[in-house]
Symmetry: C2
């Protein structure tokens, strides 16, 4: 299975564009990106979380069929902020079943037409009923995880701040990023709290955007195209939705399970990965992910974050979130998991421009839903 095409729209506040506009742009863009023909697409997997809740817009498969002017199967997948990763996972199983040779994976989300209160409430739909009723939003849930981690391993808010510092630096080289402004550690630490100990600048933004990938098992197509990256594995796991039902609060079990399975299937170990996009919805999330994926030892993340070894230009063996991550590149939730694999594709095919990671050979994308109720890990080779 190969990725042979990727396109993402600008991520950001795109008030002049509707969800359909973003979908149309992503479809046109991905076909052009590698000179592919619409007729080669045999099925579509579409990731979207919020169109139903925010704009009473469901049954999107049929809407996409109308855009494509085609009768091929189109599937909508929803798994909160992991919708994109799960769409890729299902698309790969579909290719393995020989139900199609070439499929389009789309992710799109339109979030900024609504007030932050409306969007925060809609996003809370990814938490448990009890958590919603208690009034805990996602910043609140991740703040609970952050408090537990900082206290258990004796770190402070400064350790967290190095994550957005790095990711904003990376996004300054990404023209499609929502925010391209570099931040100082001081400005991050001085930004207002959203939910103690997490601040505005520890938190990914509300963004609009779409992303599209072409996946194929068609050998003749793979031979023909200029840009391609091999998918070595894509694995997923679910876990209980409520934090109260988890045995440990300093790890995301779904990430650990999905990561372990993905490395096993890919037959490589974490040391082989040169570039990764991990799910940094909040600063603490990237630290937990780095540990749970086996890049860092449990409890060392706070220290390692401060070393900045995963920052471009810092001569580490692994660069993390070169796109700017969710934090700075933006987080249109349905598009995120698709864009993550797309960024790895760009890196492995040396199309990442100013943010290109040198000698990138193996890459990993990690996509999380909710506070870890779903996780998907995809490993690619250049």
């Amino acid at each position: 299975m190969f990725v042979i095409g990727f396109y993402q729209t600008q991520f950001g506040e795109l008030w002049e564009k509707s969800l359909s506009d973003l979908i149309q742009e992503a479809i046109d863009g991905v076909l052009k990106s590698n000179e592919l023909d619409k007729q080669q697409i045999e099925a579509v997997f579409f990731a979207n979380m919020l169109a139903g809740v925010l704009e009473n817009n469901l049954h999107l498969p049929s809407k996409i069929a109308e855009i494509l002017k085609s009768n091929i199967p189109v599937f909508r997948v929803e798994a909160a902020c992991a919708s994109g990763g799960v769409a890729i996972y299902l698309a790969l199983r579909y290719l393995e079943a020989n139900a199609a040779k070439t499929v389009l994976v789309l992710g799109a989300e339109k979030m900024t037409d609504y007030s932050p209160e409306e969007v925060t409430s809609a996003l809370a739909a990814a938490a448990s009923g009890e958590e919603q009723e208690a009034g805990i939003t996602f910043p609140g849930l991740y703040a609970l995880l952050a408090n537990f981690y900082l206290e258990k391993y004796q770190y402070n808010q400064e350790n967290l701040a190095y994550i957005p510092f790095k990711n904003h630096y990376h996004a300054s080289f990404n023209p499609k990023a929502h925010f391209r402004k570099k931040l100082t550690i001081e400005s991050i630490l001085n930004s207002p709290y959203v939910a103690y100990p997490l601040k505005v600048l520890d938190s990914s933004p509300i963004s609009d955007g779409a992303a599209a990938l072409i996946l194929t098992s068609d050998q003749s197509l793979i031979k023909k195209v200029k840009y391609k990256a091999k998918i070595l594995s894509c694995e997923m796991a679910n876990d209980s939705i409520s934090l109260t039902q988890r045995k440990k609060l300093d790890e995301i079990l779904s990430t650990k399970i999905a990561g372990k399975k993905a490395f096993l299937k890919a037959k490589i170990n974490p040391l082989a990965i040169n570039v990764a996009e991990v799910h940094d919805c909040f600063s603490i999330a990237e630290i937990l992910a780095m540990e749970d994926l086996g890049f860092w030892k449990k409890g060392e993340g706070g220290k390692r974050a401060k070393e900045l070894s995963t920052m471009l230009g810092c001569h580490g063996n692994l660069i993390v979130n070169p796109s700017g991550g969710l934090k700075a590149a933006g987080h249109p939730v349905g598009a995120t998991g698709v864009k993550q694999v797309g960024e790895i594709f760009l890196q492995l095919t040396h199309q990442a421009g100013q943010r290109q990671v040198n000698c990138a050979q193996f890459g990993l994308a990690h996509n999380v839903g909710g506070s870890g109720g779903t996780a998907v890990v995809t490993i690619l080779a250049g």
Copy 2:
């Protein structure tokens, strides 16, 4: 691929039960139905349309992981009223990819806690934006199809009335049906209009309910279990969402394409089918489906409906909607496609009690999303 288990909750106004309660009952029920063990389930496909819109409840895969106390992959699929059928379709491709040997397909919907206005508006999310903005609801869209059909082929409202007459008669034998009351043709014709020429008694109700199937490719399990039915094919097609974008209004193109592919793959023709569950959200929908699936010739449906040859006890070769269909058995949208295949499973394994179709050997289930933007056709053998 075999169906080796089915369970459905009562369909109806279940005010005392939450969506989670219905899901839990369906999981427990399907495992018990064929003495299966939870540990045998390796993935779950979950169909639901409205929980996001109506109760701000998304990320249901993780909620189901919590109910199952398991980390296996769980997928949520949404394709309006075809969500159940699409979940089955994807589950089969998942089994074909050898990603699992045994999977659970769940469908559930909780609709009656909300006002009819709220539910009608939420259901309209399955139509195009233009149709929603014009204020056309689903009864309105199907009324447009009905008007066109009745005028083109010179039928009247009485021809439509024989569909709910038959389906209510069937539901009188189904203890899980929403409505078990037999209707007279007169009472149907005298019921109030919802959208001319469709009346209340031409229209499927708003229901709560859940349904679950176990699908397997595990030969040892297939040998061991008492009840099983073979899935010969399951095919789907999408079409443009807006009626204005369709070339013909007296057919549902997605049904035609999916049906043709399903018969081709199953290597049988429509004459072989003894029992079918077809998507009768409105009376006109069953007539169009019977024609588009190749059971009746185009334009003959009005006459054939009146002959009642597809009614239990009428000595036809094909009995349609023995469960009572969506009209009388109820239409909890996410559960419908799952229940349809479940009813065929019950018929083919001779577990359908008083509504058992004699000598049922081949069965078909037909599930539609919106006004035909999605259609799934599944063919089974006993």
